[in-house]
């Protein structure tokens, strides 16, 4: 919206900056000269008129997400006597109205109580303190103690920037840094480019980020732009209420400082200033403001008097590779042209590749997006003559999306209790040894040796084969088989001798097959007609939606289950919020089952033992019975009992025959003990090993007709688009619908004719 001249006056009431300013008055920077008596006064406690705002700072801006730190939250002091605290309060808004403000004397003394002292709440009802609060407003009239006009402070020095031209103003980014965490009082200032190129190691601690404004005043023959002079203490002045409990005040002049470096991130107003917002004396717990959105920023309570809660603190961040993008996003929220390079700020055109411009949405709110190069000229604010052309509505406040986005997928380390299983890793030679040893016992163990060793332990044994759950071959080199120390193989109660094996205790692991960038083939809408099929070894294939993967990084991660041999292939894609998330998955089995066969040793042992004992028993018993039988028969015959003796003899004889028969059977059983055999498992999975083991992304893309010529197509058919614009801003072939033909006199028939012709296609 255009500035409210009833309150802020017109051009004749404004001061021009920059050595007289650009010859074109529309391209100059103006600030309010602040004649006290000439304009409508904004009453104390009333909202300030927000027509100063030509755009809004979105929810992504630090000014819409102010952190408040309370030094009393430090529970225990760290090694240096101080420590970090987290925000005790966050003031979050859907949008923040703002303007630049300049003041010769932004603060007085060493403390800035921009709210009140004591419990004074400036609403005209509850003031109890006799000491007037000294806060500053970017308003035509100053404000201090509402009841003591003579104590109104700095009335002539408060100067909001009333008008500037986005196409003639470039913000150059600076950082305040120091070499150690505690050395925040000795800061060095560099442009962002200088700092990242040369000083991140020397000065890894960042305490603040600022911008300086460069303008073309049309007066220099050597430099296109120079800094906006005459700005002595410039600041971003939020124009909205602070939403703190018990406080009703304005955020204006929040960050004013005696400098033309406009603070936009870090501590306010500076790392050394105390910006108290509650509490009655300096001895009370202090609350500090920090403009720092990401968790990379911290608030450090300094050592000294921590326990008496008189401590101060400062905001800081350590440099990492995310810093530059974080800063760019914050500057972009202002919708200004900006750069990190002083040479670009001074000399470059606004369409230079290293010149950037914050993008404003349809409500003229900046969300951290930015363009660069030739795209800068497409931004609406660059087409304005100056900020007064803005149609920004400061009363519009978007809803805040409370959700947190941008968190990447993570994988869990999984293990299971392994008391019921034991696993071993073997190579091919070790497997051959194992196979032999499972047959070896029958070859080398004499039956008599088995029979001789009748100890209790031998009675408590098992078939080793029965202990084998599985043997699986995994398609990995030793890089992905984390085996341990060499050991012997125990199968139940049996130790398999002379087999080289290694402990293996890992249950599951994940490994990446790498990332690839899905490069657009056409770099236009045809990319979204393409089909993307990802072939995954052992798991089959998945189709990837082109709308998600084109122009993005895709990564494949395999999760391997070493117990069952199953594998899951996870397909991750980098989303627009910067996170990597799983967009698809497929499962399969990546092992070959190896069948194992051998002798069931315990069964064999038992059979041999029993057969031999049975034989011995038969032999021993047959002899005794034969003798007995013989004695009885003789006795009967001697007694004259012919029939009984005969019968008995017959019975005895039969007994002898049976015994002889049983002995023969036992001998046969002993000599013909069957070898109990067993096979574990069946061979599976070989075919999957034969397939190529690299994941492969297959792209199917459409084919343009061979005679297609872009310039001829454009001039006769035109490209599909959907943009509302003034017709005269385009040239060449166009089809235009919903034309507003008001503003000139033609017959209704002619206007209908024009509508129809424009919709059917014309050449402009």
């Amino acid at each position: 919206m255009a500035i409210n001249e009833d309150i802020y006056g017109g051009v004749e009431d404004w001061d021009v900056y920059c050595n007289g300013g650009n010859p074109n008055p529309e391209l100059q920077v103006y600030c309010l000269r602040n004649y006290l008596s000439q304009h409508t006064q904004t009453p104390i406690g009333s909202p300030i008129d927000k027509s100063l705002a030509c755009s809004g700072l979105g929810v992504e801006s630090v000014f819409s997400d102010i952190k408040w730190y309370y030094t009393g939250d430090l529970a225990t002091a760290g090694a240096d006597g101080g420590g970090d605290v987290t925000p005790s309060w966050t003031d979050r808004r859907g949008v923040t109205n703002w303007c630049f403000g300049d003041s010769h004397k932004a603060y007085s003394g060493s403390a800035i109580d921009y709210n009140q002292q004591g419990d004074v709440i400036i609403d005209g009802d509850e003031e109890v303190s006799s000491t007037p609060p000294s806060f500053y407003r970017y308003a035509p009239e100053p404000a201090a103690d509402p009841y003591t006009p003579s104590l109104w402070v700095n009335p002539s020095n408060i100067k909001p920037i009333t008008q500037f031209s986005h196409k003639n103003l470039v913000a150059l980014i600076y950082v305040d840094v120091a070499d150690t965490l505690g050395n925040y009082l000795t800061q060095h200032t560099f442009t962002l480019k200088e700092y990242i190129d040369s000083y991140t190691t020397t000065y890894p601690y960042i305490y603040g980020v600022s911008i300086r404004l460069f303008i073309d005043n049309g007066n220099s023959s050597t430099i296109q732009r120079m800094t906006v002079t005459s700005i002595n203490s410039c600041a971003v002045a939020p124009l909205d209420y602070v939403n703190l409990p018990r406080i009703k005040s304005y955020m204006y002049n929040l960050v004013a400082y005696q400098s033309d470096y406009i603070k936009i991130m870090g501590g306010f107003p500076s790392q050394t200033g105390v910006f108290k917002v509650r509490g009655s004396t300096s001895a009370n717990n202090k609350t500090y403001i920090g403009a720092c959105v990401t968790d990379a920023w911290k608030f450090h309570v300094t050592s000294g008097n921590v326990l008496s809660q008189e401590s101060q603190g400062y905001v800081y961040r350590e440099y990492d590779e995310t810093f530059k993008e974080e800063v760019f996003k914050q500057v972009a929220c202002f919708g200004l042209l900006f750069t990190d390079d002083v040479n670009i700020a001074r000399y470059a055109e606004i369409t230079d590749e290293n010149m950037y411009c914050g993008i404003l949405d349809e409500h003229l709110i900046g969300h951290g997006l930015y363009s660069h190069g030739e795209d800068n000229a497409e931004n609406e604010q660059i087409k304005w003559k100056n900020s007064n052309d803005s149609t920004y509505d400061p009363s519009y406040e978007p809803r805040i999306d409370p959700n947190i986005y941008g968190i990447s997928t993570s994988f869990n380390a999984v293990s299971v209790a392994d008391g019921t299983l034991k696993r071993y890793a073997l190579d091919a030679a070790g497997m051959a040894e194992l196979g032999e040893h499972l047959w070896e016992i029958i070859d080398t163990t004499e039956p008599d040796a088995l029979i001789q060793n009748q100890t209790l332990t031998n009675f408590l044994t098992n078939n080793p084969l029965d202990c084998i759950v599985s043997v699986k071959r995994f398609p990995f080199s030793d890089t992905y088989i984390p085996y341990g120390s060499q050991t012997t193989i125990n199968m139940g109660k049996v130790t398999v001798p002379n087999t080289t094996a290694y402990e293996f205790n890992v249950d599951a692991q994940t490994h990446s097959c790498g990332r690839r960038f899905v490069f657009p083939i056409f770099n236009d809408w045809r990319d979204y007609l393409c089909e993307y099929t990802l072939v995954l070894p052992f798991c089959g294939s998945v189709s990837l939606p082109p709308e998600i993967v084109v122009g993005k990084w895709v990564e494949i991660i395999y999760s391997i289950d070493f117990i069952t041999g199953t594998c899951t292939a996870w397909v991750l894609c980098e989303l627009d919020d910067g996170s990597d998330v799983v967009i698809d998955s497929a499962c399969g089995n990546c092992t070959i089952d190896i069948p194992v066969s051998g002798v069931q040793m315990a069964d064999l042992t038992a059979q041999i033992y029993n057969a031999n004992e049975n034989l011995k028993a038969m032999k021993f018993n047959n002899i005794i019975d034969g003798v007995k039988g013989g004695v009885s028969f003789v006795e009967k015959v001697a007694s004259g009992d012919n029939v009984g003796a005969f019968t008995t003899g017959l019975g005895l004889g039969q007994h002898i025959v049976n015994s002889i028969h049983n002995q023969s059977t036992a001998e046969w059983n002993m000599n013909n003990t069957q070898v109990p055999l067993k096979m574990i498992g069946a061979s599976t999975g070989l075919n999957s090993f034969q397939h190529e083991l690299n994941p492969r992304l297959i792209v199917y893309y459409p084919v343009t007709v061979s005679g297609y010529k872009e310039n001829l197509y454009a001039s006769t058919v035109g490209f599909q688009c959907c943009e509302t614009a003034v017709i005269g801003t385009r040239t060449g072939y166009a089809e235009i619908n919903n034309v507003d033909l008001s503003g000139f006199s033609a017959t209704a028939t002619e206007k209908s004719m024009i509508q129809s012709l424009l919709a059917g296609g014309v050449w402009l």
Partner: protein, 162 residues
């Protein structure tokens, strides 16, 4: 009522908004419209005895103040010709049209490559290519030299006894 009528030979596409008219072929200052005469589809009688009449366009002054296509010419006696015209609304109001706002659905300039274009000439064919990823798998049992075998056989047994 005498009208001013200027003849042109225009080669631009009739659907061009701002046509390049070129040099005037002839200007008449005392042209009579036919009676009756429609504003949008008028006829004019001119005295123009030329062997090769090539004009296809004319601008008529007040009170018509419009551009017209000459859609037909009738040869009359005495070297007169009757011009049968239809209004060219696009060029007549070219400046006004260009100040209006409308929604462009197709455009030559600037090119927009982001909206799906149903008129774009694509064949029914699809071509293909493949992008290889890295891998964590191998079908080998050793590093190829035979000296460093892989311990990739995992034997699982029950219990943990001694």
């Amino acid at each position: 009522m005498a009208l001013t009528l200027t003849l042109y030979n225009v080669t631009d596409n009739p659907k061009t908004v701002s046509k390049a008219l070129g040099d005037a072929v002839h200007t008449f200052n005392d042209v009579q419209p036919t009676d009756p005469c429609d504003l949008l589809n008028p006829s004019f009688i001119i005295n123009y005895d030329v062997g090769n009449f090539s004009a296809n366009y004319c601008i008529v002054g007040a009170p018509f103040n419009r551009n017209y296509f000459i859609t037909d010419v009738e040869i009359l006696t005495g070297g007169r010709k009757k011009l049968i015209c239809s209004v060219d609304a696009l060029t007549t109001y070219a400046a006004e049209i260009k100040n209006c706002v409308g929604t462009f659905t197709r455009s030559e300039n600037p090119k927009d490559y982001n909206i799906r274009d149903s008129k774009f000439p694509l064949t029914g064919d699809m071509k293909s290519k493949a992008l290889l990823f890295g891998t964590i798998f191998t079908a080998d049992n050793d590093d190829g030299e035979g000296l460093n075998p892989y311990h990739n056989y995992i034997l699982t047994v029950v219990g943990g006894g001694t």
